[in-house]
Every structure is written in C-alpha cells, then in structure tokens.
Symmetry: D3
Amino acid sequence: MQSAETETLIRRALAEDIGSGDITTSCTVEPGATGKGRIVAKEPLVVAGIAIARQVFWAVDSNLDIVLLVQDGSRSMDGDTLLKVSGDLATMLMAERTALNFLQRLSGVATLTRAFVDRVAGASVRILDTRKTTPGYRFLEKAAVRAGGGYNHRFGLYDGVLIKDNHIASAGSIRRAVEAVKASKPHDLRIEVEVETMDQLAEAMEAGADVIMLDNMDLATMKEAVHQASGRVVLEASGGVTLDNVGEVAATGVDLISVGALTHSARAVDISMEIEPAF
Amino acid sequence: MQSAETETLIRRALAEDIGSGDITTSCTVEPGATGKGRIVAKEPLVVAGIAIARQVFWAVDSNLDIVLLVQDGSRSMDGDTLLKVSGDLATMLMAERTALNFLQRLSGVATLTRAFVDRVAGASVRILDTRKTTPGYRFLEKAAVRAGGGYNHRFGLYDGVLIKDNHIASAGSIRRAVEAVKASKPHDLRIEVEVETMDQLAEAMEAGADVIMLDNMDLATMKEAVHQASGRVVLEASGGVTLDNVGEVAATGVDLISVGALTHSARAVDISMEIEPAF
Amino acid sequence: MQSAETETLIRRALAEDIGSGDITTSCTVEPGATGKGRIVAKEPLVVAGIAIARQVFWAVDSNLDIVLLVQDGSRSMDGDTLLKVSGDLATMLMAERTALNFLQRLSGVATLTRAFVDRVAGASVRILDTRKTTPGYRFLEKAAVRAGGGYNHRFGLYDGVLIKDNHIASAGSIRRAVEAVKASKPHDLRIEVEVETMDQLAEAMEAGADVIMLDNMDLATMKEAVHQASGRVVLEASGGVTLDNVGEVAATGVDLISVGALTHSARAVDISMEIEPAF
Amino acid sequence: MQSAETETLIRRALAEDIGSGDITTSCTVEPGATGKGRIVAKEPLVVAGIAIARQVFWAVDSNLDIVLLVQDGSRSMDGDTLLKVSGDLATMLMAERTALNFLQRLSGVATLTRAFVDRVAGASVRILDTRKTTPGYRFLEKAAVRAGGGYNHRFGLYDGVLIKDNHIASAGSIRRAVEAVKASKPHDLRIEVEVETMDQLAEAMEAGADVIMLDNMDLATMKEAVHQASGRVVLEASGGVTLDNVGEVAATGVDLISVGALTHSARAVDISMEIEPAF
Amino acid sequence: MQSAETETLIRRALAEDIGSGDITTSCTVEPGATGKGRIVAKEPLVVAGIAIARQVFWAVDSNLDIVLLVQDGSRSMDGDTLLKVSGDLATMLMAERTALNFLQRLSGVATLTRAFVDRVAGASVRILDTRKTTPGYRFLEKAAVRAGGGYNHRFGLYDGVLIKDNHIASAGSIRRAVEAVKASKPHDLRIEVEVETMDQLAEAMEAGADVIMLDNMDLATMKEAVHQASGRVVLEASGGVTLDNVGEVAATGVDLISVGALTHSARAVDISMEIEPAF
Amino acid sequence: MQSAETETLIRRALAEDIGSGDITTSCTVEPGATGKGRIVAKEPLVVAGIAIARQVFWAVDSNLDIVLLVQDGSRSMDGDTLLKVSGDLATMLMAERTALNFLQRLSGVATLTRAFVDRVAGASVRILDTRKTTPGYRFLEKAAVRAGGGYNHRFGLYDGVLIKDNHIASAGSIRRAVEAVKASKPHDLRIEVEVETMDQLAEAMEAGADVIMLDNMDLATMKEAVHQASGRVVLEASGGVTLDNVGEVAATGVDLISVGALTHSARAVDISMEIEPAF
C-alpha cells in the first residue's frame, strides 16, 4: 500500500514548507481570489510523478480543478504544458513549490533512465536500478525508473537474494553460501551471486546460482563471462556504467545492466509553474 | 524538534529497505557472528550527515560500537575513513546501504556547496540555498548546505517574507504589496521583494523593502542595481548561477547569491563501506 | 500545513472522550434517530474556533448538516446562535462535548484579547501574544489572538530572534551577542533584544538591534525609553501588563505590548449546546 | 498507556516551539557550554506535572541532570525551588518554555482544585472534575485534579453511564431510559441520571438509578433532594458551583460536587526558571 | 473513536500484504480491466466484520461498488452471498485476501459465541467475553461477541474494577482491598471480586462487593454460592467453561458466564471470494 | 524493520488494555511494592513470541528484571517456566494480560505447525504457511511458523509471483499469463502457477513455470502430478490439508504442503502467570 506512504510523504513535505502559514500570500492575496496555473517543461524530459504533483495540490486544497496533459512516461519538449490547475489563488501558491520539487526530481530520474535505455536500443538487455535510492523514496524512484523504460532490481533486502562478498566470507565459500540459502530461502526466489573473477563465476554456476552479477569487470572479461555462461544463468553487469560506455557493456551480451546513478545522481529537470491571477 | 523527524525518516528508510527481513544475510551469516566495518571516501568531498549514518546503524542495532573520525563540514580525501563500526555482523550488513544512501547524498550537497563557496572566496557575499529541496529533507539538506560553508535562505513560507510577481499582481503594485505586508506581518521579519527590472528595484526601495532579490538579471544590470542600492537595501542575486559564473556574479557586489542546484541537483559523492567478518 | 495537525488533535480529543464507545447513547438512542442542535453563546464573547467545532462534528459523522452563523472574530451576545447542526442524533451527542471544549477555550482567548485591544483603541500600538501557550495549541491559540484583534509574536524559536539575558551572558555582552547573531542568522529576520535598564537600551541600539523588548520596566522608565529610541528602533513593552494598566502602558508610546495572559490564563467562555431529538 | 500519549504530546509541543532550530541560542551560545537552572514558584501553589517538566527536558537532551524537589500534590510557597537542572546550556534554553508551559498550566488546575477542596474540609463530600477539559489533556488534567485533592468523574463516554435530558427524551422517559441501559450496559458500571426537579428525582430513584446528578438546583431544593434520597442513592451537585458557594453546597449533604471550572478556567500559576551559565 | 483505530489497522494490514505492489496482477491484468466478485459463506456461520470487509476494499479503491447482503449478527448458510463488489479487477484482487482475513476471523468469533449463547437459551444468563483478545483487536473482537449474542465484560483495566488474588494479597485481605477501592475508585463503577472458596464469597459479600466472580468452582460449589448470594450480589462463573458444560453452568443460576475461548481460540470460518473478470 | 512495527503493535495493545489506568491495581497495590512472577506452560507446547512477552513488560516498565528460560522454537512441558520477572508489582500486573495474549496466540501457531511438521518427519517436504494470517500479524505469525519448524510462503503480493485462475482468465491462458509475467517481473523471482487439472499442469510446465501449486487435488491425481513433473518443477500441495491427511499428502512426493490453518485457526495454548507479592 504505497499510496498511504506517499500521502504521508506529501503531508510531511507540505508541513516543512508551509509550517504555520504562508505569510506573504496571506498578506497580499485577498481571501477568495482565484487564478489559473500551468506547469510547463523548460527542457526536453520524460515525465514521472505527475499524479503526485496533482496529489500535492489536492492535499492543500481539494477544491482545485486539475487537468493532467501527460502521464508518467510521456516525453515532453521545452514549452509543453504538463498540468493545468485553476481555483483558489492562495492555496495554489502554497502548493506550487512542493509540487514542483517532487515533479522535477522524479522526472529527472525518468529522463536519465530513458537516456540509458535509448543508448542500448536494439540490444536484448534490461537497464536496472539499484538500492542506491533517496531514503524514503524507494517506491517513487523505482516507479520513475520504470517510467523511463528501465526495470527494477529487488526493492529491498526482503524480496530478493543477492549473495555478496561478505556473505561468502561468512559462509566460507560460494558453494556453502548458495547451499545455505537454498536450504532456507522462500521457494519462490531465485539466487543471485556477485562475482569478481572468472573462477568465482565458475564456482557460482556449479553451485547452482540462477543469476550472477559481474562486479566491476572490464569489457573483455565480461565478454568471456557471457561465453562461459552460454545462457545457463542470467548475467548482470554492475559498476562504473555511464552513458558513454553503456552501449559497449550491452554489446558484451549480458542480460541486465544495473546503474546506481539513475537514482543517486539524477539532476532535477527544469520545470516551472506559471500562474495568472484572475480579476 | 528535528531529531524526532529525522528519527522517523530513518525508520521509514530502514523499513523500505529491510521490510520483513534480510533473506541473504539471515541464511549465510551465523547468529552472533561479529565483524568490523569502515566507511571510506572514494573521492575528495565535504562531509555532511555523518551523525545520521551513525543513527542509522543504531536504529538497527543499538549495541554496535561506532567511532566517528570526521564531523559535518570536514574535508576528506579519497581513501579517508569517515566512520568505524564493530559488533554484530548481520545488523551491520542490514544498515549499510541506508547509512550510505543518507551520507552520500548529504555529503553531495555539502561538497557542491563548498565548490560554490570556494569560487567566491574573498568576496563579502553569502552563498544561499533555496526551497528547491527534496520533499521531506528540507532540514537535512539545509544543514548540509551549512556544512559546505553556505547560508540558509528561509526554511519555508512561514519564517520569511518574499513578495513575488503573483503577490504583486494580486496586491496591485509593489508599493501596495509591501504596505499590506507591513500592516500584518510579525514585527520580527524583514520584507524581501523579487524584482526583474531597474524600475521595479526603485519602486521596491521606495516602498520600504529590506531585501531585494534580483531575478535572472544579467551581470551589467546587476552591477547597476548594486550602484542604485548603494547599501541601503540588501541585494540577492538569483537564477542561472553556476560554478562557471558565480565568481562574476559575486564581483557585481551583491550581498547574497542563491543557488537552487545546491539541493536539487547535487550528485551523490562516492563513499563505500568495507566490512571484514571476524573469525 | 496546520490543517493536518489540527485534524490529528481533533482525532486525539475524540479518542480520549469516546474511547470504545458512548455507552449511554448506544443504550438509549435508537439507531437512525435524528435531531437538531444549536450552539449558543451564554455571555457576550468574541468567537474563535468555529470551523474547528464543525470539523469535530464531521470527524465523528461526515453526514451531519452544519451551518455556521458566525466566523472567527465575530462578536456575539448572550443568546446568539453560533452554529446549527442536524442529522444523526447519536453522533451529534458524541461530538458535543469535544466541539464545545475547543470552542469555549479558543473563544475565551479571543474574548480576552479583544478586551485588551479595546482598552488601547486609538493608540498606535499592537497587542501581542507570547510563547506561553498550551503545549500543542500554539497555532490555534495564536489564530484566536488574531480573531480578537491582536497580533502574533514569533511562533517559536525558529522564526524570530530574541536575545535574552542568558544569551547576553553567554556571548559576553549585548554587543557581542548582536554581532554573533548578525553573522549567522538568516538575512530575512530582524534582531530583537530584551533589556531591563536604560544603559542596556543604549547598548542594544548602538549594537544595531532592530527591536527592543523593555522587560518589566515601570511606566516612567518606559516613557524615557520611548524618548531615547525616538523612532530609530521598535519598542515592545513586556511583563506585568493587565487590563487595568494596559492603557497607561500604551500611553508611553511603545509600539508593541505583549501579554502572556492572553493564552495562558484566559478562562473558557460560556457556550452551550441545545439539542432537540426529532420524532 | 498514557505514557506514550504524553510522550507524543511533549514531542509535538517541542516541535511547534523549536521547529527547525533555536536561532538565537545557536548564534550566541558556544557548543558545549554548560549551565545550571532552577524552576521556582513565584506564588503559593499546588504542584502538578513536575515529572512532565522533567520529561520535556529529557526529550530535548537525555543527558541533562535533573533533580525534583517536590512531587505532584506538594504545596509550594513563593520562592520555593521545584526542580534543578544542570548540563548543556543550549538544550536547557530550548526546553525551558515548553517545560514551564506544561507545569504552570497543570499546577494551575491543581491549585484551583485544592482551593475548592479546602473550602469543604470536614464535610464528607468529594470535589469532582468534569469532561470540560482541554482537548488532548483529559488524562493530564484529571491527574492534576487528583494532585489537588479532587476526585475524577468518568474519563469519557466509554467508562461511565450518565443519562441526560436528550437520552431521556429519546428513550421516552427516565424509567425507559434506565431500563434500556440496564439491559445492555456492562455489568460493572453503575447508572447515573441527571435530573432537574424533585419529580424527576423520584422517578429516577424508582427506576433504579445508582447515582443522581442534581443539575443546577438551588440550595433549598438540593437539601430536600438529600432528604428524599436518605442515603439510598448517591447524589451529585452540578452547575454554577464557585469558591464562594461551594461550602453551602457541601452543607446540603450531597455526596459529590462537580466543578467544570477546575479544568476549563484555571489560570496558569506563576512559575519561572532561573538559569546561570557556567564559565 | 474506534473508527480511526480500525482505519489504521486496515491500512497496516494492506501495507503488509501489498507492500510495493501486486506483481502478479500488475503483469497479467490489463489496466482498466473490470470484474465482479462475490464473498460467499462456505459453511453455516454468524457474520461479524462485514462493514470492515467493505472498508478494506474501499481503502484500496474508493471507486469499487459494494453491496452488503447481510449485517453483523446475520446467520448465513453454506452458499449464501454476503457481499457483492464490482469495478476495477486489479484492485479487487489486491484487497481480496485482507478483506477475507478480517471477515473469517471476526465471523469465527461471532459464530462460536452464538454456539455458546444457543446452548443456554432460556436461561437468564449472559455469555461474556474476557480480556483474552488478540492484541490490537479488543474493540473488533468484542463487537463480534455482541454480533454473536454475547455481552462484553470490561474493555480493559481502566473501565471496571476486578479485585483478584494479587490485589487481595497486596491489600492484606478481601475486606481491606474492597475498602481501598471504595475510597478511591470513580463513583460510577461497581466493585467485582474474584473468589475461589465459599469463605471468600462470604467475606466479599460482607465487604460490600457488587459482583463476585466464581473462579474455577465445580458445579456443586457454584450452586451453593448461588444459594448463599440469594440475589444480593451478581455472580459470574469463570474458568473451564466449554460448549459441553456451559448448559450445566447456566443451570446453577449464576448471572454471568465468561468464556476466554470466544476470542482466544475461535477458528476462522470458511468464507471465500469468487471473482469473474468482465470481457 | 519489523521491530518498529512490533513496538507499535505492543504500544497499541497496551493502550487498549490499560487506557487511562489500572483502577484496581492503583487502589490496592502500594506505590513501590515489588513482587516476582513466573510465566508457566499449562500444557505441552512449542514456544513463539517469548521475546515479545518480555518487550511488553519493558514497554510498561523498563526497570523490570526479566529472565527468559526458553527461546522461540523450544518445546515446553506442562509446568515448565518460560519467563521470570521481578520488580514493581503494579506494572507487572498491568503488563500481564497483554504479554500472555501475545505469547499464547503465537505459541499456538508454533505448536500447531510443529504437529504438522512432526507428522511428515522423514519425508523431504516443507510445511508452508499462507497469506491467511491475522491482519497486522503477518510477520509475527510467519516467525511463529518458523519456530514450529515450518517454512514461509511469500510474505505478500510484493515478494512472489503466484498466477491464479483470475490472472489466467485475464491474460487469456496459462501460457499468456506466464509470458506476461516473464516480460515484466523482477529477474530474481520465480514463477508459480496454480493448477487444478493435469492438463493445466502440462500447460504450465510447457510455459516455463518454476513452481506449480496443485489446488485441492485428490491424492491419486497428486501422485500422477508428481510423476509427470519428475523433478523438472517444484510442486506444492494446497487445500484441505489436515493433521489427519498430511502424512498421505507428503507420501505423494510433493515438495511443499501449504496449510492455511497454521495461522487462521490455531487455538491459543494454555499459559498462565503466577505472581507473588514481596513483603
């Protein structure tokens, strides 16, 4: 039930921005004054969070009339209107910044994801996010990744198995770690193992891993890994992937490419609101 | 009382990452196994959020021993250890990603702020943040700005007056907007007015504004504004300020420069955790 | 976003009054029985919290029909009807006491404030509240003060600067305290300093204070302070102000008079509800 | 579990006072500076809420050393120290006002209750509170009443039966209302009926009421009611009871006297805090 | 105000079942697809919680059309439809299990209660629940008991007096415990005492107990207790009551029989949902 | 982060039981009186929730001394002591019922699970729970299943794929449903399909299902399904499994047996607390 979580996040965001009230607006805008506003893209972008922007306005004033002109995943150009709002001017002004803060940030994630996805167009590979999300935004940012054409890795530690170096060290070996997981894990989860060398790859495959993450391998080694795996396991490339090299990584033949930057380093895209008081 | 808010944010972040439990760790790490971990900078950075990282570990396991080797505002180099932790291995692994997610993001804000501040070293000017923060992170991101040597603009709509175009349009004129605010606003707040032209600047000064925000003015006009104001009001430059041009903006003689990118577009800095199980 | 806070307060208030249910009503009132009620002033008063009373009824039963006959700030006489409600009898009875508890208390604050304001009618002075509010009621009680014609001092420690004796002692002197504040405070706040003597007044003015609070000064000293200040700073009288002496305090020429009793010692005004079951 | 509720109330109170931080203190008090404080009665009073005052300090800073010199119910004189605190100066200043706001208000309730109780000393009668409490403070104010020597009426609609005029009108008669309640109410509750006349008193007694509330009766009628009841039911006097007439009401021989003013109109007692920075 | 509590419980239940989303449904059901569903009894049962089932559906999707065909307390046969729902197919599938989990469990309590009540039909005795409820479900389970024809014992420690062995040991004797309670307890509560022997019964009656709980007495002793009490106090049988022996217990003439199993050991009744996608 | 959820559940449970206070105890037990208590099994059982019982005591009084004599999963006999507590008598009495309510219920689940597990001892099969849990108790009841030797099915709709009849009907066929899931689901989840016939089994295997749930099949058909699958997919038996027939179901050779009754119909086991006041 993410909707309740999102509602809580929106209320908290409005609380921190509005607090005991909007002093400037309450002094300068007549009670009852109305107006119209448009949220407009100021650069090419992929939309994410448009329904959340609407939810922000409605959280401040459920009587505002709102029309969405795009949906999550839409590509918009500089100058495109994304959302129209009309009604009470004061509440519109109070919601403006928080609505934009959500929308610019989430659309930033979708836009960056789409750039990665476009670079690997034609290849049979998924662009994946990671757990490197803004704390409290896991669900929203992963939805933004999907809006940009990406796929989601596990949501958290609870819905996927990923055996990393520390787990291997604790269990004693890759084989023992995989066996320990097989004995206890829910039957509906696959087992993924992170490896750094070809030897580890071989050991993981022999132990029965379903998915293998190639951690920070160079392109040549990745290619060899794809050759070794020859389709018997799913391969995920991870580490150091950028817009510049993602095409070459895809060309190695891996099945999945995960990119932390999608969520931890997307810049906000430029979106602004134009408001016109009615007289 | 931000500490309670932060505690809530941390608990929510851990809930979304850990959910019903860390399957991999519970299968591979013996109950009671211990270990040691170090959080290490992987590039030069300014630290922010180090106490929050500690709080994340303690929220998962209050028995972990933690030593902070830096404080917010510290400059660290690639390879510097920021925090040491020892104790239960499983809980350390469960807290790792969330602690890093907070720390990388907030240190990213501090590091970018410091870059702006360093560019205007010597000038008598403050680098300011804006309200363009991650919803729910206003307090934390503004603290990160301070850690980077910046100053805070108002926290929200409730603790400062900023008369913008819509307020002016609603009130009828700059003069009428300023008068309306003077009549009602708390006596302990100054009045700031956003202007786009030299005429508006003159009108705002005459109306009795204390601070004037120069919105998206070019450098020449800004310089003229500084000349006109001649110290009688505080001037803030806003809009389109980058690392490339902030030095020139400062050279115009304005008192304050606000930069939205400090909080809306800082990339996460590279910080990782190295864990060593004990045997 | 005070509306969410108020909603929480109302829900909590209803929870503590209704708990597991209204035993008497559930035993004696037929399910589906309807009725009409009127909330009536039993003495002359100034209304505050009328919308909250309505919100209480709606929190128990969103189907109740409610008409407000006054608004916050209205002066009502003994016998005036403030609110009419009709609909389900049982839910009306369950909401009655909580609605009245809010309304009597907040109207008490507005009524007392209005008495102070009326005593200084004609003088160019503001009657201000303080931070001596019922914990959890800061926003509601400050709104009640405004309903009574008063003005608000800062809402809390976060939206205003007030340098008191302990701050001065810590900083070393009034001058050093003012300088320390100037160096770090947000640029949109003024600086207020609390003083007890004419020497301190002079020092505070010289240090650049914008507002000076005259703490517990006698009328003669206050008058001298007004003379000394001669309009260069804003002066606030504070301490020991009552309905009996507020006129004389205003006559000294101070700009602001703050009165803790507005919120910490207003008695509840007499308001009752008359309900008539329908047959 | 009132402790969790109280903790929530305290956190909310601190949040509304401190918000994003204490600007003045953070500018003027050195980090790490320490001090000592004393909370002192400035008039004769009965203490209530002293442990809550301590809880407020600890909610801001759990490292403050606090000594309570009184307990709830203690009578203190002008000048008596109630609580001593030492430790971090900044956190002490941040907690001061909220701690006092709780303490002055609750001690005000206890002090007023004690005044009523003292007026009826010697009589075998209980002074009772009502449901006319500050919303959200039911538990705290009822504890303050007990600290002042009073007794509690039911906490809410859920833990006592009180048949009032509307219940009687809905049920058809006193007899039918009492019978309806007997048939359904939990077996461990008594039945109380509110009456305005001697006829109603007779009807309520005949119907089997355990307790009868005499609503706004004059002293003569009350005396007659006591005579009629002759100990077969418990009698409660209610309405218009003041410090001036409570002695006469008690002299009629009723068992219980309820006074709404104990909680809805007690003024805050004068208590202040004296702080001394350490050097 | 139980409605807010129930809402919270429902949201929490949906959160734990749906979490970050229903993967299977989102992959297989077209957005916008609609359907119809029926909740059907698969065995004879007494309904409880039907409105909560509806609330669960509406918490997921407030646009679902829902018709209730029964109400709490209705007896349904195998095959009877209890609720019809139509609208969005995906949200219906997401709410299904949680709605059934509430309904099966609460109807289980009502059904078991009804079985006890039916066994004592004709006798003038109440079947009571206890405080042995599922933590967090006190209100809902006690409502289910009433739906099954049972009565509620006190809701908690706060709305009834029940003096047990430990209270007696602490006070020194039954007499002293009863006297201590009389001196302090709210005047609207009766006093119940738990006894194990005829001597204790006599002592409790003499001390002035209103209700006496006969703890784990055999049938013969119970009968003797009824004889001794001869209507002067209310008697409650408690301990070891089953469907097999409840008739004999009632035949002893006690007024109340409390049964922990009503809430702590009722099995879920068989109820299922049949859904038909629309094409 | 289930610990925060559990803490919330405990606080809510205590709130509903204790509310405004334990009247009986506060009247009869001297402040400061101490005592010792033991929680004792009154029948053979498997323990679950013992740490939660301790957490309940500590939530009421963090100063109680508590010793656990068993851990979750321990088998205890009638008369065995599970937990010892000593300290303040009043708080011990206030926590008693809530602690027992958790412990009896969760141990009931563990005990019933263990009975199922013991019946299939020797067979290579897992006993699984379902999503038929008490709303709000998913995590606790699934932990109790593990304490009884069972395994967990998916926690909710978010961490596993289970294609049921409605998903198949919506997608058009088993094949199309499986393909749709493959295209979108996270790569670390397996695909489980529910089938009722041998034809569906064949179709699901051909479509590439990883796990197949045999829904309400008779023993003969189940055996044939095992033969058909011959180890290429994992098989789960579901529907109508009881203690009487679980051995036969296991003997068919299925890999998993899921039993809704483990959580929806376990009776509370008999556990009581013996308290001894100290003198």
